[in-house]
Symmetry: C2
Subunit: 464 residues, 2 copies
């Protein structure tokens, strides 16, 4: 397996890619993938393979793998299921580094014999296979991109430190799209489908050693080897936080998961217990997965005392409710801090936590309030609610928030809710590493998860 995982690097960083099943027909999978490689400015060699064509999209096309002149680091296969095994055998003869098999029609529809043969060929030759029945791999560092969704429909995120392992292509692609939308950076994306050869644990193992990955997101439906996953999660989570979403929790979802990737979802209770034992962070929904990971790019907090600054009283109150619901603490300000704050407040503002600067407070009082609370050791995490719609609020808030985030003395989160104007600001904040939320609930839940993981890390450190 060691050798297999080493070869997986060829899939993530290929210098040459064959797209088997490439076609000039618009919107077909083999067309979209080829077009994405061309549009995505992939720097290596690109070889479309299809016996029906001499060329397509302006480049030469090859009849079969063996016709390709140079060596092939990665072959992406998007041909009908019955053709996959013969193509794999060609790939072996060609000494191809690794494969991504997009094609469906294996375990998930009962074709377990085909799946078994795929596994045998792969293992015997140490030739890793991602898939089948998947979107495959996206690596913004190397521009390797087998996601068969057009770029104008699904934006590609910038390079960053977050890896995402997903069994479902649908779930995976939406997370990629959201990451791009909010300017959040990705290190590796792996949609692994049926996990016929390499499974979620193998990818975890690979990412644990990947220098570009600092945080790992996972979406799992069914796992073949639960014990292996538990042990692997335990090990990796100590080094890099793992945030996981389990799909197929109820009976109906479980049945659907079975027909989706051919894996049995299994009792959710067992998964939940395993996640708890490995101290991995569990998300309740798709958006939450994304909400949490943004927070994990902040420094680890020293405790659970939350300070809240707001220019809208009601939003401060709703946020305070969330803090208490999540079992966290609203920080108590000392007399000294209260005095400092009092100096920057309008007469009718109230010096409390939440600190309500009121809607017509100038941007200057925001600046000062953030400065006072950032340096205060009475709070561990600062939540800044910025109602962008109020008249005095302007682009200087971005400077104030990024400065606080760059400071790295404590984690911060920002909350802004609104339409186009507000959303534009939120995108700028997110893409500048200020976690920005459009829901107090989402922000506070993410903070709670960060605190829990930080406590675990502190505990590990103490033990060591």
């Amino acid at each position: 397996m060691r050798k297999m995982l080493q070869n997986l690097s060829k899939v993530f960083y290929p210098k040459s890619v064959a797209i088997v099943g490439a076609t000039p027909t618009t919107n077909k999978v083999g067309n979209v993938i080829l077009k994405n490689f061309l549009d995505g400015k992939f720097q290596g060699k690109i070889y479309p393979v299809n016996p029906k064509y001499k060329d397509m999209l302006g480049i030469k096309c090859y009849s079969r793998m063996s016709d390709i002149p140079g060596k092939v680091d990665c072959a992406i296969i998007a041909t009908p299921a019955r053709t996959v095994i013969p193509i794999m055998e060609e790939c072996v003869r060609k000494k191809t580094g690794g494969l991504v098999v997009i094609t469906s029609g294996f375990e998930e529809i009962g074709e377990s014999e085909l799946a078994k043969r795929m596994n045998e060929i792969s293992v015997r030759n140490n030739m890793p296979v991602v898939g089948p029945n998947c979107l495959g791999v996206f690596n913004p560092y190397s521009k390797m991109d087998s996601i068969f969704l057009p770029m104008y429909k699904l934006e590609r995120p910038r390079a960053g430190n977050i890896a995402f392992i997903t069994q479902s292509g649908a779930v995976g692609s939406t997370v990629v799209d959201l990451a791009a939308h909010y300017g959040v950076g990705i290190s590796k994306f792996i949609s692994y489908g049926n996990a016929t050869v390499l499974d979620e644990s193998d990818y975890l193992e690979y990412l644990a050693e990947d220098d570009e990955t600092e945080i790992i997101l996972m979406y799992i439906e069914g796992v073949k080897d639960g014990r292996k996953l538990l042990n692997c999660m335990k090990k990796v989570n100590k080094k890099k936080p793992i945030i996981v979403l389990k799909g197929g929790k109820g009976a109906g979802g479980m049945a659907a998961a079975k027909s989706h990737t051919g894996n049995i979802a299994g009792s959710y209770t067992a998964y939940h217990a395993a996640f708890k034992q490995a101290k991995v962070i569990e998300a309740d929904g798709l958006y939450e997965l994304f909400d949490i990971v943004k927070m994990f790019n902040q420094p680890k907090p020293k405790g659970n005392r939350i300070g809240i600054i707001t220019n809208g009283g009601g939003l401060g109150i709703i946020t305070a409710d969330c803090v208490e619901r999540e079992g966290l603490k609203l920080a108590q300000f000392s007399e000294k801090t209260r005095k400092e704050i009092k100096r920057i407040m309008p007469a009718y503002g109230s010096v409390g936590n939440p600190l309500d600067l009121v809607a017509d407070s100038g941007i200057e009082s925001y600046k000062k309030a953030v400065e006072v609370l950032m340096k205060s050791d009475e709070i561990d995490i600062l939540v800044i609610i910025a109602l962008m719609q109020t008249p005095p609020m302007d682009e200087r808030i971005i400077h104030i928030l990024t400065k606080a985030s760059d400071d790295k003395s404590k984690p911060i989160a920002s909350i802004s809710i609104g339409g186009n104007y507000t959303e534009a600001y939120r995108q700028i904040l997110d893409s500048n590493n200020v976690p920005s939320y459009n829901s107090p609930n989402a922000a506070i839940k993410a903070i709670e998860r960060l605190i829990t993981y930080s406590e675990y890390c502190a505990h590990l450190k103490k033990k060591a």
Copy 2:
């Protein structure tokens, strides 16, 4: 009170508006409000009032209320707190229809004497006062708009059938902005602040009779007369659904609410019990308030059996999990329905619920699947997950979804998650009355609330 509420119509549908405290200084409250009236194409007369200016923004300015030539239906007051009572007395002499007092600095900072006098003058003269310490009123039908947030920062929603009563201006304005963003129509917006004269119950009473309002949203922090609210909610909720969000649930939130509007938030347990007794729908968060109301514009379902169509297996599974978590049922398809569906499916798709059409299924199979399930009496609510990023998906999905929604035979909800491309589609769907969600959790929660309210209505009908 009857007379007072009748006069409130003058505030919602004024033919003439005085803006007391109007100013040419950019970004000041009195400037933004005047500018919004001018930009918002208000058809009635607009009278800025400020002794310091002869004119502003191109129109004549008056020194005091008594200088205004014609009568004034509504005076919006945005001057310092100490000046408000004398201005109110001027308004009485001028026989002004009603007032919106934006100004802060009353009960919320302990100035209860000022508040008492405001109440006396109002009640004695049947001159309704919205506020103080509020954003006031927005009515897209009459273009009455005292929201002191610039239009480029806070979009104004189109005219529709949803009223929103909010104690907090911050919470209120974000909901207005979200409604505009998603093209959801508003009938009346009321930010009532301290509720010194008219309170939430009075506004409920008014909206119960308002022809343009069919659904009522509320955000409440503290209430003075809980019994009055309970009785009023009970009565109104039978006629028009009320969806409520309570702010200030925990100890910290409660303390903040006290300083926010001068009202005591009180024990959340008591509120929760009252909401339950009145059968009003309770939301857990700000976004949820908005998520639920979109669903309430759909027809009432006959039961709780959910059908799910998806082109992404994983998203179908996550949605099925939500259905079970909310205590709803995944519909069971009969042999007849299964056969009908089988005909339109690709070979490797699975005929289950969720019905997974798989990522490369054409738009035609979507169309047929929606048609089959819309006419089936085996499901009560249809949830359509449309992963907009897949190659065959295009703008025809909008036609399919709006057609299903227009059909009115059963409620539908759509789920799409993604970046700019997907969000553009979601906005089109929402503004065409197809409730669209970017989270399975949000969609299914909203459906659960609609089912609960529909069951209540069915129960009332049976009793009658």
